[in-house]
Every structure is written in C-alpha cells, then in structure tokens.
C-alpha cells in the first residue's frame, strides 16, 4: 500500500496552494523578524537610563516605524500577493470537470475535448501540469469543495455554477472534504484526489469509459438486480440505470466507498449495503435489514470486481 492520502494545506500539490504556502512562509518569517525587532526595542527602552532617551526622537520613531513602515510593508505585500489571485490561464479545448456535491457524496463528470462525457463519483482525478476548470454545483443544499493541498475552498450553491480553476503540479494521492455543514452526514463527506501523469490519466479515462466488466459470478449481479439497487445506481451496459446514487460502473477502481468513508473491500460493501443509514447518518440510501448476509456478500463480491 502507498502512504495514506494527505489532506493538508501544508502539503500543497496544486499551483494555487503552493503559492499560498509560499506566502505563508514569507509572512511567518516576516512576522518573527518584526516581533524580534519590537522585542529588542522594548528591551533597549526599558534598560537604558531615562536621561539617555529623547522624547522627540521617540515620537519620530513611532511615526516612522509605527505608521510609515507598516504602510509600506503592507503595500509591498499587496503587490506581492495580488498577482497570485489572478486565475490561471485556461487553454482552449482544456479538460473540463464538474463536481456536484450531493447529500453526502460527490458526483464527478469529465469532459475531455472530442470524447463522450464520463460520469463517476467520489473521486477526483487530475492530470499533472494541466489547467483544469472544475464547475461546482449542487442539487440540494450548499456544500463546499475543499482540497486543501490543491486550492482554496469554494462553495457549491444550488442554482449556480462556481468555477474553480486548478492545476496539479505534483503527482500523488490526496484528499478533499466538504467544508460547509450540509446535513447529518456532512462530517463523512470526503473524497480521494489523485494527481497523475497525463499518460496515466489518459489511460485511466479510457479504462473508465469501457463498459462494466461482465460479472464473473452472475449470482451477485442477479442479487443486485433483485433488490432493486439499479433504481438508484447505474452500472453501464446493465439494467441498472438509476441516477440518484453514485455510478458504480467501475466502483472497484476507487480507493474508498461511500465518499471516503469505508475501504474498498467486499466486507465494507456488504456492510454498507445492508445498513447504510447506521454507518452514515442521514444517507439517502435505504437500509436492507432483512437482507441475508450471504446476499450482501454476493453483492459485495460483484461490486468489488467492477474494476
């Protein structure tokens, strides 16, 4: 296994987060320096005999070091950070991604130029070095899309599309999280973010576009159909075409299930299938308390094989 995904603004991998991190370093060093100088002045003022201090010079020091200098420093900082706030230039025919926040998971849609639209869920993949516009929206309540290592957070607001322009600069495994309270399951609404080389990325896109692998064990697929899971979930090229829950066509290619909550294992899928509401409060998927564990395992095996 690789190291666990990082979700930290202190481990930046996106252009914007890297710039913010650098600014943070500059500001921290500057603040320490200024603090040190002020402490030193304080020490000198307290220690020197009274008759050696001039009132006029002191007042001048307050004016220069207390008013003029801070204004100049702030102006310099403004000129330093403002260019970072300019959006990255987006080349024409760039990859477009939509992320839709839904209680309590993420629908992701990829639009590569000249290729059919691809929908998956609960994972964001980005090609390293390419600028991508992520269109953020929501069908239910306000969510907030936050990948601390990539860029600042941006709200997903029902009825409008917010555009977040990002560029991943380092490959790796990262994590994002809903950052606006959106209901009972808010705290377990996360997702994996995978930044990969453009070649790997194209391979992944091609893999995702393939139809679902035929079930090795038809019993699992039949059980899935029998319980009506396909009313909410889509598995492309099968009867299942629901749009309410996450697309499961290549579920097993993800690292987690249920929006970063449980590991991708047969057992976890079986548990979640039987009793999603007790694992994730407020979840929009019913419990199946009467489902025999063997059926849940069969469904788990079927779904965990959908690479």
């Amino acid at each position: 296994m690789t190291s666990p995904p990082r979700q930290s603004a202190l481990a930046p991998f996106g252009a914007e987060a890297i710039a913010t991190f650098d600014t943070t370093v500059v500001l921290t060093i500057g603040a320490c320096l200024i603090f040190g100088i002020v402490a030193l002045l304080f020490f000198v003022a307290v220690r020197s005999p009274g008759d050696r201090l001039s009132h006029t010079q002191g007042m001048r020091l307050v004016l220069v070091a207390g008013a003029a200098l801070p204004t100049l420093i702030l102006a310099a900082l403004l000129v330093y950070v403002l260019p970072q706030m300019r959006p990255l230039p987006v080349p024409p025919r760039a990859l477009g991604v939509s992320a839709v926040g839904e209680q309590f998971w993420w629908r992701t849609v990829y639009r590569a130029p000249g290729q059919p639209v691809l929908e998956t869920a609960n994972e964001l993949r980005l090609p390293v070095g390419q600028t991508v516009t992520i269109e953020l929206s929501s069908p239910d309540v306000i969510h907030s899309f936050w990948v601390p290592g990539l860029a600042g957070k941006m709200d997903m607001i029902p009825g409008r599309i917010n555009r977040l322009i990002v560029r991943a600069d380092k490959p790796g495994l990262y994590r994002g999280q809903c950052a606006e309270f959106c209901g009972l399951g808010h705290a377990v609404m996360a997702f994996d973010v995978i930044a990969m080389s453009p070649a790997d990325y194209d391979r992944w896109l091609a893999d995702e576009r393939r139809p679902a692998v035929p079930a090795a064990d038809p019993a699992g697929a039949a059980t899935f159909a029998e319980y009506g899971c396909g009313g909410c979930h889509a598995i492309r090229d099968t009867q299942a075409a629901g749009r309410i829950g996450p697309d499961l066509t290549h579920l097993a290619a993800r690292r987690h299930i249920a929006a970063g909550m449980l590991p991708m294992t047969v057992d976890a899928i079986a548990r979640f299938t039987r009793d999603a509401p007790s694992l994730k409060p407020g979840v929009r998927m019913p419990a199946y308390p009467h489902m025999p564990p063997a059926d849940a395992q069969a469904i788990g095996r079927y779904l965990a094989a959908l690479k």
Binding site: L78, L82, P83, R86, P87
Partner: protein, 135 residues
Amino acid sequence: MSKRRPRGRMLHGLHSRIVTARVTLWTLIVPPTVWAVHFLFAYLWAAVSCEKAGRFASFPVLFWAGTALALALIVASALVAMVQKETPGDPPPHDAGTDTDRNRFLATATWLLAGLSFAGVVFTALPVLFLLDCR
C-alpha cells in the same frame, strides 16, 4: 531689496490665505470623503464593466484618471493642513479652548486623516490594477 517676483507673491498670497482660513469639521472630512468616493467609484467601475462588458475593464484610463484626481485632492488637503497645523499656538495654560488651538487641533487631525486616506486610496486601486477577473 528688489521687489518680489510675481510668482513668489502669488505663493505668498496663497500661504497667507491658508493661514487665515478657518479649519472646520467640513475641511476635516475632505480626505476621508475623497477616499470613500474613490472606493465606491472603484467598486462601481468593476461591477459595471463586468456586468455590461462581461469582462474586467481592460483599458482603465478613466479609472487611473479618477485615482490620480483623488490622490491629488488628498495631497492638496494635506498641504493646506500642514501649513495650518504649524501656526503658532496660544501660550499655556490651556485652560479654555481658543480659536487658534482649535484650528491647530483640527488641522493636525486633517493632516493625519489625509495620510490614512492616501494609503486607503492606493490600497483600493492596487487590486483593480492586478485583478483581471470578474469572478
């Protein structure tokens, strides 16, 4: 000595007019008012060009002219206040308010406000220069 050159006399006249001019609360609020109007102007500038033209203003000559005008007004008010705050004060004890002391106080406050407003206008204008995006 020789008679003053006309230019010098003009400046001298201006100077004596400034010294005798009354400082009031109205002159005090000139710099912050200019700052406030410039602030509104900057926001309207961005909002109108984003809404009507669909993009951030790319030829902001008018904006820079407005900013220069605002800074000039603030500097002018600071110069006037600087002369006025240097008028000799009444001798102590300062037991009652006198017109001179009142003038000196208001002039000093105006001068400080002018410094603040200058920085305010510059800090408002810089983002307009650097941001190129309506989002």
